[in-house]
Symmetry: C2
């Protein structure tokens, strides 16, 4: 079990090629015992962005504050605070801050580059509503 | 790909035994093509709580607004906006609103009741910082 305010986790620069003025924190990861996926928060300055790239795993994102655009091969898709964003595996993408304030978003990734799986969890298919 | 404001997804009551004044929305789920895990938001009224229960899968949680307590077998652990919470598989727990305003938190669950896996994804083990 773990309860931590996001500001208590280390803020580390994103140094990947193509990234600009972006930092992130690992909130829940394998070090915490999480068996399947990791929860991170990204903090992107007003002129910042993540790399325009692709990979074999998905992103599930929630925008905590600020506004931005999801850069795709079909153009930029705007988003703002309170938006949930799903990025498919294999889809080229970048997250850009298009506002005047820091953009903060959660980004969840799987530990493994997993193929689609059939659900064995009744709480994961919208047939249940528990927590 | 999907971009949706959380308020655009249906708010459905949590009717599980032991739940009180709690509703939730499925933000990203298998219907969206998400292969591994589901992102939901829970909205708990001031006198509300989720069931005190356990199951074989983990929760990764981020508190969007409000304050509450994680009920555990070792007592209540307070939390507030901006906290990340990890609940281990097999740990008895409930989320309770302890404030005067609605408590809203994201809760991510795996599609499968998965056992711990070795990472094959360099972006999931804190050795990389990409998005």
């Amino acid at each position: 079990m773990k309860i931590v305010h996001y500001t208590q986790e280390e803020l580390v620069p994103v140094n990947a090629e193509g990234a600009q003025n972006t930092k992130m924190r690992w909130l829940i990861a394998q070090k915490d015992g999480a068996p399947n996926f990791a929860l991170r928060i990204f903090e992107v300055e007003p002129d910042g962005h993540t790399p325009f790239h692709m990979h074999d795993w998905e992103h599930e994102v929630f925008v905590v504050s600020g506004k931005g655009a999801l850069q795709t091969e079909e153009g930029d898709k705007p988003f703002a605070e309170g938006d949930a964003i799903y990025v498919d595996p294999g889809m080229r993408h970048a997250f850009k801050n298009t506002g005047d304030e820091p953009l903060k978003f959660l980004c969840i990734i799987p530990h493994e580059d997993a193929a689609p799986k059939k659900s064995a969890n009744p709480f994961a298919d919208e047939s249940a509503d528990n927590c």
